[in-house]
């Protein structure tokens, strides 16, 4: 609440800047048109024009807002023109990829923490894996998976997974190793088994780390799903909207898809944050 006023101020400043930038960026096209039509533009006409072009370089905020309104509230959510429908398509791939990435990440982390060989062999490659521009080869992955009969949701989810497993591995390795020597020694004095140590000490201790990485992983998963949608033939999803918008030069459509994607991401991350607060509070580990 304390932040409400500053945030609103910043948002207002951004909107003002945005309108200004729209005038600046769209002016050349307005003049270009006017010149070919042989008319003079007054300043007010110019501004009005820059804020209402069909395919502006930068659409004005109200144009984007109207587009979002039209494609969410005014469309049936089953319609292919509804952004809610497309968000759902992206969301499902995101959630699946996120789930797969989390499971893979935790599994790898457990392996790394409990097995020296896995730790030494795999960990450097886990880091290297992220230097491969997966986003750049996403199209190939889609086609190759297609060749072995995997299509639809799964290929997108796999790209999501590739991006989201990494923060989870890194975070969970840290988390599972976060119990200090004293706590581990204590388990030893009680002659606790490896499994008992894992379930009663390592896993609970790793929770704060887990949630922090889950937030990063979720943001990554969305990027993965959207990028995975670009080359699947602009079929459906926010990525497809971005692409189709881009293909037809529909900047308004691009921006609305972008903003909805950001809102989706922010919502998902916020939900994890909420769960984090509840769980950690219950566990007495809230910072």
């Amino acid at each position: 609440m304390r932040n409400l006023f500053p945030v609103l101020t910043v948002v207002a400043a951004i909107i003002v800047l945005w309108y200004g930038a729209a005038v600046w960026l769209n002016t050349p096209w307005a003049y270009d048109k006017a010149q070919r039509a042989g008319v003079e533009l007054s300043t007010s006409e110019l501004i009005a024009d820059t804020w209402s072009q069909k395919k502006p370089k930068l659409p004005a905020p109200h144009q984007v807002t109207r587009e979002i309104w039209k494609t969410t509230v005014e469309k049936k959510i089953t319609s292919k023109r509804s952004l809610i429908y497309h968000s759902w398509v992206t969301l499902s791939a995101t959630l699946l990829g996120f789930a797969l990435g989390t499971v893979l990440g935790i599994a790898l982390a457990v392996g790394i923490v409990f097995n020296r060989t896995i730790d030494m062999s795999v960990m450097p490659w886990v880091i290297t894996s992220q230097t491969i521009p997966i986003l750049a080869i996403a199209p190939m992955i889609i086609v190759v998976l297609n060749a072995v009969g995997i299509q639809g949701l799964l290929p997108k989810a796999i790209i999501s997974m590739y991006l989201s497993f990494f923060p989870v591995v890194v975070g969970m390795v840290k988390g599972l190793r976060s119990p200090d020597h004293m706590q581990l020694d204590q388990m030893r004095t009680w002659h606790a088994s490896g499994a008992q140590t894992f379930w009663r000490l390592r896993l609970p201790s790793s929770m704060p780390y887990l949630f922090t990485s889950l937030k990063i992983a979720m943001a990554a998963a969305i990027v993965g799903a959207i990028v995975g949608e670009l080359p699947t033939g602009a079929v459906a999803g926010l990525g497809a909207r971005l692409l189709a918008g881009s293909y037809y030069g529909q900047t308004i459509q691009i921006w609305s898809a972008l903003l909805v994607a950001a809102a989706l991401a922010a919502t998902l991350v916020a939900i994890i944050g909420l769960i984090q607060r509840i769980v950690l509070n219950r566990m007495g580990m809230a910072q």
Partner: protein
């Protein structure tokens, strides 16, 4: 080594290999502790107090010499859950209630449910924490947390209590209070206690025997048998006898310190 000897170390040595060369944490340490004794270990930082306790607890392997706990090796003693270990920090799990924390070792050792509940209740009584079982550790003061951690080490049937600076992090007044309680508890339960501390008054006040250690290499500089009675009110610390023992301990420490 009498029949009643609970802990017996002979020519114990432990050398850590570090990047800066070997560190002789313990060198030819021999010591016998009888049943029911309260033995304090005191000495400057790095003299091997903690290491010695950890060897007893099978958390560290000696590089030479031998040690028995209850007549068997530390490892067997650990597997038989023959001792409770209390660390400097309370180290309670924030996600478990006080009762849950005390129940933890019992769960691990496979005590049955009813027995667990019974024992938790008993040790909470013992450390005067009844009524706090449903609280979480962070809802308690530092002294209460430390009491809970002692209760946790008392909950299962171990005759030996190993305590590594359990009150090091507490302020003097709370510490006085806990010292008093610990003495009463020891009297009631007749456990054998090995207790590491940095504080001379604490060592003198609590112990039947004070082991003064000196560093580099870690060894025993002096063993002082206390002449204080078993019954010790806090005021005893202003008595000449007390001051005399404290003085001896300080001398022992100074000797060990200066020739390092």
């Amino acid at each position: 080594m009498s029949n009643n000897t609970i802990i017996s170390a002979k020519d114990l040595s432990l050398t850590f290999q570090t990047n800066d060369g070997p560190v002789h944490a313990l060198k030819d340490v021999s010591l016998d502790i009888e049943k029911g004794e309260f033995v304090s270990f005191i000495g400057p930082s790095g003299c091997g107090k903690t290491t010695f306790l950890r060897v007893m607890a099978d958390l560290e392997q000696p590089t030479a010499g031998s040690i028995t706990m209850n007549g068997v090796s530390p490892e067997e003693a650990r597997r038989a859950r023959a001792y409770g270990y209390v660390f400097q920090a309370a180290g309670l799990y924030p996600w478990r209630t006080i009762a849950g924390n005390i129940r933890l070792p019992l769960e691990i050792m496979g005590y049955d449910k009813a027995d667990q509940t019974e024992r938790v209740k008993r040790v909470l009584d013992l450390v005067e924490l009844s009524g706090f079982e449903k609280k979480f550790p962070w809802q308690l003061s530092g002294g209460m947390q430390q009491r809970a951690s002692i209760a946790r080490a008392l909950a299962f049937d171990a005759d030996i209590l190993l305590m590594d600076e359990p009150f090091g992090a507490l302020d003097e007044i709370v510490r006085d209070h806990l010292n008093e309680q610990l003495l009463q508890l020891w009297a009631r339960t007749e456990k054998t206690i090995a207790f590491v501390t940095h504080s001379i008054p604490e060592a003198v006040y609590l112990s039947t025997k004070i082991v003064v250690m000196s560093p580099r290499p870690g060894r025993i500089a002096d063993v002082i048998e206390s002449t204080l009675p078993k019954e010790r009110p806090l005021e005893i610390r202003d008595s000449p006898e007390f001051i005399e023992i404290a003085h001896r301990v300080r001398e022992g420490l100074r000797a060990g310190h200066s020739d390092a």
